[in-house]
Symmetry: C2
Subunit: 209 residues, 2 copies
C-alpha cells in the first residue's frame, strides 16, 4: 500500500487525512467501482469533501493515484509468480491471483477493461510491464509443454476476467470462494494437450506506445 507522502511540507493532520482518503478510496472503488461520489469517499475517510479536493485537487487525481497503487501490487505478484521453479505453477498462480484481484476490486476490473487504452502515461507503462510478465509466464509454460499451444498470453489475460461475475445464476449461489472453482476448471482446460481446438481469431493486442 503506497503511503509515502509526496508533499513533506504539510502539517501532520493533513498527511493523516491524505492517508485516510487513500484507504477510503481503495475500499470504496473495490466495493462499488470507479463511480463513487466524492461525498461517499470523504465520509468513509472521516473528513469533509473540501479536504478531498484540497489534498488531491480533483476526484480524478485521487482515483488515478489509488488505481496506480493497485497496478503496482499486481506487478509485484506477477514477478513473484515468474520466480516459481515450475512454469505451470507460476502461470496458474498468476491467473488465480489476477482473477482474485479483479474480484477484490471492482474498480480495478473496470480499469483493466478500459478499451480505449490507459488514461495516463503512468498507467500505460504499468500495463506494458504487466503484459511483458504475462508473455514471459506464458512462454515458459509453452516451452515446458504444460500449456496447450493454441492458448496465447492474450487468452491468459482475457480468461483472468472470467470469474468476475460468477456469484449467482438462476438461483444458484456459488458461495464466497466459488469463483475459484471456475478458474480451476479454466486452468484444466488450458493444460496441454488441448482437446477442443480453439477457433476464431486470437485476442488482439493494442500496445499503448
Amino acid at each position: 500500500m503506497p503511503d509515502l507522502d509526496p508533499v513533506p511540507g504539510t502539517r501532520a493532520d493533513a498527511r493523516h487525512n491524505r492517508r485516510q482518503l487513500i484507504i477510503a478510496t481503495r475500499e470504496a472503488i473495490a466495493a462499488r467501482g470507479l463511480d463513487v461520489s466524492s461525498l461517499d469517499i470523504a465520509k468513509a475517510a472521516g473528513v469533509g469533501v473540501g479536504t478531498l479536493y484540497r489534498r488531491f485537487g480533483t476526484k480524478e487525481a485521487l482515483l488515478d493515484y489509488v488505481v496506480l497503487g493497485l497496478y503496482d501490487e499486481l506487478l509485484d505478484t506477477a514477478e513473484v509468480c515468474l520466480k516459481r521453479p515450475d512454469p505451470w505453477d507460476g502461470l496458474t498462480e498468476f491467473v488465480m491471483d489476477l482473477a482474485g484481484a479483479h474480484r477484490d476490486s471492482r474498480g480495478l476490473a473496470e480499469v483493466t477493461a478500459a478499451c480505449d487504452g490507459p488514461s495516463s502515461p503512468e498507467l500505460a507503462q504499468r500495463t506494458i510491464a504487466l503484459q511483458d510478465v504475462v508473455i514471459r509466464l506464458t512462454d515458459r509454460a509453452h516451452a515446458a509443454g504444460s500449456l496447450r499451444a493454441d492458448v496465447t498470453w492474450a487468452d491468459i489475460l482475457i480468461c483472468s476476467r472470467a470469474a468476475l461475475d460468477t456469484d449467482h445464476c438462476l438461483g444458484v449461489d456459488a458461495g464466497p470462494d466459488g469463483w475459484r472453482r471456475v478458474v480451476t476448471i479454466l486452468l484444466d482446460g488450458m493444460r496441454a494437450p488441448g482437446r477442443t481446438p480453439l477457433e476464431g481469431p486470437e485476442p488482439q493486442v493494442h500496445r499503448a506506445e
Copy 2:
C-alpha cells in the same frame, strides 16, 4: 418473441405502440441493462412516455414482461439441447447458448444474477423449469461418462456466466467472438476425467418454492 397482445379490445394504434415498446425495451435492456429510463425506451419506440405508462401501467411491469419473454426463449433452447443424441453435445451447446444469451442481453444477465430470488411468481416458475432442464442435461452427461464427476449442474450454471465480461483486459481485445474461446476452454476443463480436483464447497441452490 412473444407479441400476442393480451388486450384485444384495444385500438390498432395502441396495439402497434405496445409492440414497439416491447421491441425497444428488449433492445434497451440488452445494451444497457435493467437501469433504463422510461424516456429512453419511449424515444426508441417512437412514442411518448405517456404511452408507455398507459400501456403497461408501470415501467416495472414492462420490464417484467420483456424479461419473462427472454426466459421463455431460454427454456426453448434448453429443451432443444436436451434432444441432442449425444449428451456431451447437448450440454456444451446449452452452455454456449446460455453464455451467449447472457452476453446478448445485459438485462438478462442482471436478472439471472439476482441473489434474492426471482421477483415474480412467473419468473420463479421459469427459473425452476430451467434448473430442471440443466439437471437433466448434466445427469445425462455424467451417465455417459463425458462430464467429470466433480462438476455439478450448479457449476454448469455458474460457468455459463464466465464469458460475461471478457472483452478486454490490460490492452488486449478479445474481439466480437472472443468469449467463445473462453467458453471452449471451460468446456474442455469440464470433460472427464478431471485433472485438478475441484476444492471448496459446491455451489448451493436456493430453490424458490
